[in-house]
């Protein structure tokens, strides 16, 4: 920023100087033209003597090369008056001829040269006057002042820029070192420590903000991973330790075929629970990957739900509960029927597991502008307030003892299926039981 500003200021100064100088030049040009016009007029009136008088010169004055140089050096003009191509007055130098007033350069060699304003006028048929006027004092003075002023100003600017960068760079380096040091501290306790820095530089503030946001997200994911690994450990440990116990029992019961057979059956059941947990994890990851989206089609949700409800009604009945179906015909949505079936099955199974033993459970389906509205609910006892925010987390179990079968993945799978369908899933607040509302878009 500062560098750009400096360059702009230097440019502006240069442009102003050039404008001023060219104004002075133009002024000198006009003056010379007017002066020579007057010389010519006097010659026409009074002849050559009047010119000599005007120019304050003795007749027959001739300037050699040295004298010409000195005159020019003193900012005096030099002339050359020719009569019939013979120099009778003025400089012996060959002046550049020009029929109008213009700036030309006269070279004296050894790096000596003069910028001259030249004009050649024909006084009459025989007499020719050439005049060369060096840059005026005024011009020289102004230009030297301007150039010096420009140089000084540029130097000051450059210096101040340098100083600024030195100070700012020092600050920046200090702040950067501070950030680096703090980051390695945060590495020790990434869940609680956050970045802060004493810097007024916007970039640093942005970095601090972004880093802290990233840390928050990492903390969230870390927490989820922790819950998950604890969950996996618990869900695997229970059935696996049962299998281990069974194996010990088998050793004790060797020879008793019936007992051995019973142990094998129970051990297989426990191992199947482990395999189911893994299958669900794989399934969950596969749903979350979104690859099912390629197979999405228009689905008659009414038929799918009616079919599932009819299948589950006997199961609810056998458990002492009632499943009521209330679905509007021909409600469509865009999705994968296998996933949507699992979504509903998981909600049914959740109700079978957690509602009271004679609960009323219902499934309702209606259409709404652009979406299908699905509700699966029961009349109690519902999910406690402290558990509500966590029910869709993997391996979260309201039942801390994990005494009931299952693996806390059912509702995570429900959530993942809703997400892949761009469906809104929510647990309705302030209900007597657990009531899930799902809004599935009708088209893609």
């Amino acid at each position: 920023m500062s560098a750009v500003a400096t360059i702009l200021v230097v440019c502006a100064i240069s442009i102003v100087s050039l404008i001023v100088l060219s104004a002075i030049d133009a002024n000198q040009q006009t003056e010379l033209t007017e002066y020579l016009d007057e010389v010519k007029l006097r010659y026409e009136e009074d002849g050559i003597d009047s010119i000599l008088e005007e120019l304050d010169l003795e007749p027959q004055t001739l300037w050699d090369r040295k004298e010409s140089f000195e005159r020019l050096n003193e900012h005096d003009a030099i002339f050359a008056l020719f009569i019939d191509d013979e120099l009778i007055l003025g400089t012996e130098l060959t002046l550049p001829a020009s029929s109008d007033v213009r700036w030309q350069t006269l070279d004296f060699g050894s790096n000596q040269s003069f910028k001259l304003l030249t004009l050649t006028i024909q006084l009459d048929e025989q007499q020719l006057l050439s005049i060369a006027q060096p840059v005026s004092y005024e011009h020289e003075f102004t230009s030297s002042i301007l150039v010096r002023f420009g140089i000084i100003l540029s130097c000051i600017l450059a210096l101040s820029c340098f100083i600024y960068f030195l100070i700012a760079g020092g600050n920046s380096k200090k702040a950067t070192q501070q950030i680096v040091a703090r980051l390695s501290e945060i590495g020790q306790s990434p869940d609680t420590a956050r970045l802060s820095v004493d810097s007024k530089i916007e970039l640093h503030k942005d970095i601090v903000h972004a880093t802290n946001e990233m840390l928050d997200q990492i903390t969230f994911l870390h927490g989820r991973a922790k819950t998950m690994s604890v969950g996996i450990a618990h869900d695997l440990k229970t059935p696996l330790s049962r299998v281990a116990n069974r194996l010990q029992c088998m050793r004790q019961d060797l020879g008793d075929n019936n007992a051995i057979d019973a142990h094998i059956t129970r051990a297989s059941e426990d191992l199947n629970a482990v395999i189911t947990t893994f299958n669900n994890l794989v399934r969950l990851n596969s749903i979350e990957s979104g690859k099912h989206k390629n197979n999405f089609i228009q689905i008659n949700l009414s038929e799918l739900i009616t079919d599932l409800a009819l299948s589950y009604q006997p199961v609810f009945e056998d458990s002492g509960r009632v499943l009521e179906l209330s679905a509007v015909d021909n409600v469509y949505c865009f999705g994968d029927s296998d996933l949507l079936s699992q979504l509903i099955c998981n909600l049914f199974e959740n109700a079978l597991e957690y509602s009271h033993s004679t609960a009323n459970v219902w499934i309702r389906l209606q259409s709404h502008t652009g979406s299908a509205l699905l509700q699966v609910g029961d009349d109690g006892p519902g999910i406690s307030l402290q558990d509500q925010p966590h029910i869709f987390e993997r391996f979260y179990r309201a039942d801390v003892s994990r005494s009931k079968p299952g693996n806390g993945l059912g509702l995570s799978i429900v959530k993942a299926i809703c997400d892949v369908h761009d469906a809104q899933l929510c647990l309705l607040p302030d209900q007597t039981g657990a009531v899930f509302n799902i809004e599935v878009p009708i088209s893609n």
Binding site: R283, S311, Y312, D338
Partner: protein, 224 residues
Amino acid sequence: MNVLIVEDDMDTASFIKKGLVQQGESVQHVASASEGMIVASSSEFDVIIFDRLLPNMDGLDAVKVLRASNITTPIIMLTALGDTADRVAGLDAGADDYLVKPFDFSELYARLKALTRRKPISQSTMSLSLGGLVVERTSRKVTRDGQVIDLNTKEYQILEFLMQSPGQLVTKTMLLEKVWGFNFDPKTSLVQTHVSRLRNKVDKPFNIELIKTVRGCGYIISND
């Protein structure tokens, strides 16, 4: 039953082989897709078990090649990939069935049996009968000893599926796939509940129990 196993994992292969030999079936095992394709196209088998993840070649492509060269032997694919999309891809490639590892041997065996007897029971068999139980496939009418039995859709579908393979094990998973079209396993006793209702209607009023439970595996319908 003459079975070809194409499986690179020796433990899985010997597990399957041992089970099949115990059942009195004859087994040949090869460990690579290329060998599998050569053997499958040069000898006659009743069914082929093809692993999906083989070194150097996807089992899926091998099955495609076999089908393209008019080898119509029933094929069941084994895979560690349990997803619907993978399953559909397997069936699209020309496999007849798809089983996810780890599997129960009885599950595999039941499926092999179902594949090998597919030919004799054609869709044109309009009436299935067993021990006085008659299932009319066009009218979906079920009678036992002349008495009409009223079944709902799912009960009828389960019975029809069992009746297509009398004396053979039909697993819970097979029923979930064929009757409900599920590629996932619901936690609850969905299948048990419906089979139990079916039994109440088909077996309970009569002296002989036709539908038998194979504990932890599935069901067999037979007149023994």
